[in-house]
Structures are given as C-alpha cells and as structure tokens.
C-alpha cells in the first residue's frame, strides 16, 4: 500500500471534511490532527483568546483511543478534533456560558448534539470563548477576556459565538458549534471569514444547550466550507425525544446535493431593507458574489420582502423578553455579576409588556406565510450581506468601557441577521471578500423552512469558483 502521509504543518489547514476523509484513508491519524491543533493553539491563542478552557492531555488520550477503532466501526467525523462554544453541556465538564455566574457550572447530563457528534467519532479539545450568556454580537467578554479577530486583533470577531469563529479562522480547529438567536453563528462567520449555518427553527435539538430564547435559539456549526457545514448538519439535525420542540422532518443527505450546478436556481436579491445603508466595500463584495452565482447558471430576481418593519420590530421583542425571563432570578440576586452591557439589556427588557410579546409571537406564523407567498413563490433562495458595515473594532463597540456611540454600533451588527431568526428560515453565511481594512466580508443565503440543502448548495457552488473560504489570516498555523 502506498499512502502519502500528510506532514503536520498541513494538517491544520485541512477543512473538516478533508481531515475526516484523510483519517478514513489512513493518510493521517486522530493523534496527529490533535497534536497539530494543540501546537497551533499554543502558538496563537494567546493573541486570539478563543479558548476559555482546554484539555489537551485528555484530547490526546481520546485521539489515541479513536485511532484503535476498527475502520468498519468509524463514523463520518472519526478522529477529528473540534471545540465548541462553552455552553454545550457534557456531563461533569465545565460549561461557563461565558459568565461569572456559571464559572464553576458542571452539568450532570450531555447535550444531544454533543452525543451525536461523538457517536460519529469527533471529540472536543475544550470550551470556546463566547459572549456572556450568548448575549452580544461583538465578542466582548469581561470575565474571560475579549476574543480577538485573527484577521486583525483590534477588530471584533463577532458574537456571540466569538471563539467558534476565531478558532476556526485561526486554524486551531476544523469546525466548532456555535448558537444563533439573532445572528450569533452568522456574525462571527462573516467577521472571521468562515462558513456557518443556522438551520430552520426546530431543525436541531437544543437539549443540553444553554437557553437564551426558547423561540429563536438555534444550534449550528461554523467551519471552513459549505461542505463541512453540510456534513455536521447531517449529524446533528433531526428529531430528539429529549427536545419536544425539535422537528420530525426527515434529514436529507445535504452533502450529496452539493453538485455545483445552479442552472434553474432563482436567487432573490432584496429590493428593500437588507441593502439599506450598506457600506460600499461590503456592497462591492456582495455584487461580485452575485456575478459568480450568475456564472454558475443562477438567475437573479429582484424581490420585495413583505412586512420587514414588523419583522424588525417583533424580532427584537421576542428574544429580549425570553432572555430577561430566563435571567430574572439572577438579576434579582446578583445583577452585579453580569457585565454592564448585559445586565442593562436584561433589566430594560423586563419593561416590555406581555401584550407586546404575545403580539410578536402570534404574528410570527402569518408573517412567515406572507413572506413565503411573496418571495419563495418567485425564487428558491434570497441573499443579503450578513453585516451591513465593515468590521468594527472592539473599542468602538465597547459599551462597558463607555465608548461614545458604542450602543448604536453594537446594535447595527445584527440588523440583517436578527430578522431571519424571527422568520425561522435556514441561513448560511460565507465569506465573499475583504474590506479596505483587510477584514472579511460575508453574505448570507436564506431558503424556505427545511431548505438547508438548497442554501448550502448555493454557497458550495460559490466556493467552487472562489477561494475566500480558503484564505486565512497571516500569522497563524498553515
């Protein structure tokens, strides 16, 4: 047998699917992948601060055990080291949720998505940095230190899954789970130049995942490519008896549908809301992306998304009220243990009356139906810039430091992502260029409910003709 063994220096540059396939072919091992990841983290995470905790020795022991598993018993992700936002419970393991309040929290049970990933042979190196209780869009964390964007250390990595975006971008891990209530997967994916997917509301089990908003929370991966996301979604999606809200809709083979062919696919380009006040650099990247999709055979169709005033208004109400409800007890007893930007938000949200919350919830279904009738009767997907502005700096968005204008800058980030959570649609964000500061620009693709495969297919087709998803920040592992 003549097998080309991959040298350690190239291992961290492999995508998730490339790494899993390399292990399956015997070109590398779980131990080699883990050693390469730990070396990259040791060399670079002092600058990025993407990990809250790391268990290198235990990961190496797990990897060695996995390397002894017979090939016939191996899963789709066998031997690939990952790490996840520090809010996925694993029995007995730390799960800080990025907070002081849960600094020593060790749950007694394991999240279904973690069990599913482990059943396919992956394992975690540690817990990744995140916004405190998943509640900011920037990556600030007063308790464990701010996470930094590997593309420019002064810049926001995006939140709330800040460590997930940064660790994947810096080539510390091949993929990571994040969570998305108002953009918390797609924002760090966009700002860190990686690919991330939020599935249809109810698509992925939330059992064993720290709650923020019952109606809008979603679990999903950040990875190097649409194909990576497809493989992870196929593993984690599907009904879970432990989460009664999870859908029984069958899970398709997302990866098998990635054929690069966009002929006959109609792509909606919003005429309203999503392109309002978009930065020229972002717009240039977005328009160039449209050209690539057209080159792949897609037809661009201008669309008007109805009820956007209602979507934008109601979307904020639902997640704020649900978050404030979850945190009310801690707010009564230990409000000072939260960062200012968070306890202030939680406090204010207690002032939103129940009638406004019920109004927002009760109109969600009818609004989705109206959007489907107006948009998805005309197009297969619609696209938008993930973020309207260029990457902001950590300083310019630091509410806790009292930076003038920080609140506005803070809120601007999620203008294009939060509405999608209210609609409940699947959405994939991927990189499509760099701005004039050399920071990544992202676009997002939305499909009908349970149309994750179609959104991934569009992004995969784009990535076949472009190299943005393979670009990496300088100064980190090759």
């Amino acid at each position: 047998m003549n097998i080309a063994i991959k040298p350690p220096g190239t291992l961290t540059s492999l995508s998730l699917t490339e790494a899993a396939d390399a292990v399956a072919k015997g070109e590398t091992t779980a131990v080699a992948l883990t050693e390469a990841a730990l070396a990259a983290i040791a060399a670079g995470d002092e600058r990025v601060n993407s990990f809250i905790w790391l268990e290198g020795e235990q990961a190496l022991e797990t990897a060695a055990r996995l390397d002894k598993v017979p090939k016939a018993e191996r899963g789709k992700l066998h031997g690939v080291p990952l790490a996840h936002k520090d809010m996925y419970y694993k029995a007995g393991k730390l799960s800080t949720c990025g907070s002081k309040i849960r600094a020593e929290f060790r749950p007694g049970y394991t999240a279904t998505v973690i069990e599913r990933l482990e059943a396919e042979g992956s394992f975690a190196l540690g817990g990744l940095n995140m916004a405190e209780f998943a509640q900011n869009a920037t990556g600030h964390n007063q308790h464990y230190g701010h996470c930094h964007n590997p593309w420019g250390l002064d810049y926001c990595p995006g939140g709330s899954s800040s460590g997930s975006g940064a660790a994947v971008a810096a080539r510390f891990v091949h993929a990571a789970l994040g969570s998305d209530t108002g953009g918390s997967i797609r924002l760090p994916a966009s700002l860190c130049g990686v690919t991330g997917i939020k599935g249809t509301q109810t698509r992925v089990s939330r059992h064993g995942v720290m709650p923020l908003s019952f109606s809008a929370d979603n679990v999903g991966p950040l990875a190097r490519s649409a194909r990576d996301c497809a493989r992870i979604m196929a593993v984690i999606a599907g009904h879970d008896p432990k989460d009664a809200t999870s859908s029984k809709e069958p899970v398709p083979d997302y990866e098998a549908a990635l054929d690069g062919d966009l002929k006959g696919i109609k792509i909606g380009v919003p005429k309203n809301y999503f392109l309002d006040d978009v930065d020229p650099d972002v717009m240039a990247g977005f328009e160039a992306m449209l050209g690539v999709l057209e080159g792949r055979g897609a037809t661009l169709v201008p669309v008007t998304i109805p009820h956007m005033d209602a979507v934008a208004t109601y979307g904020g109400v639902v997640s704020r009220v649900e978050g404030a409800t979850i945190h009310a007890e801690w707010m009564r007893r230990q409000a000072q243990d939260y960062a200012i930007h968070l306890n202030s938000r939680l406090y204010a949200s207690l002032g939103i009356p129940a009638v406004a919350y019920v109004e927002a919830l009760s109109r969600r279904g009818p609004i989705l139906k109206a959007i489907a009738a107006a948009v998805f009767s005309e197009v297969d997907v619609f696209v938008a810039p993930t973020i309207r502005c260029k990457a902001p700096t950590l300083l310019s968005t630091d509410v806790d430091a009292g930076t003038p204008g920080a609140l506005d800058a803070f809120n601007t980030l999620s203008l294009n992502t939060r509405p999608i959570n209210y609609m409940g649609l699947p959405s994939v964000s991927a990189p499509c260029g760099l701005d004039s500061n050399g920071m990544p620009i992202g676009f997002q693709v939305q499909a009908r409910p349970f149309g994750e495969g179609k959104a991934l297919k569009v992004v995969d087709a784009f990535q076949r003709d472009t190299g943005f998803h393979r670009e990496r920040p300088s100064g980190f592992a090759a």
């Binding site: 904020g316 404030a324 009310a328 202030s344 002032g351 919830l361 279904g365 009818p366 149309g451």
Partner: protein, 68 residues
C-alpha cells in the same frame, strides 16, 4: 408621546419582577424603548390575528421546501 419611559420601565421591572436598575446604562436603554414603542405603534392595524390559535410550527410546515 409625553411619558417618562425610564420611570415606566422602572416601575414595571420592580413591581412585576423585583428587579431594580443595576446601573445608568440600563436606564439609558430603557429610555431607548421610545423607538420600540413607536415601532409597535406604527404596526397597529396592519396585521390581523388571522390564525387562531396561531402556530409558528404549523407555518414552518405549511411553507417548507418541497424538495429538500
């Protein structure tokens, strides 16, 4: 609208939830609800409760991708 929104939020948070303003930023955010209230006000009369009981999960099914 001539009302003290900070006072309104303070009264509601304290009376219904037992939570007091933790800092000045929290009151600034509460004052910012003027725009949220205006947004909700502007929506009055635009949408009816056409599905009773409304079910978002049913809407997801009704609008789902036919060929996933």
């Amino acid at each position: 609208m001539s009302m003290d929104i900070k006072a309104l939020v303070k009264e509601q948070a304290e009376a219904w939830s037992g939570v007091v303003p933790p800092n000045a930023v929290s009151e600034e955010l509460a004052a910012g609800f003027a725009s949220l209230m205006a947004g909700l006000s502007a929506l009055r009369g635009q949408l009816a409760f056409e599905d009773e009981p409304s079910s978002f999960e049913a809407a997801l099914q009704a609008t789902k991708e036919p060929n996933p």
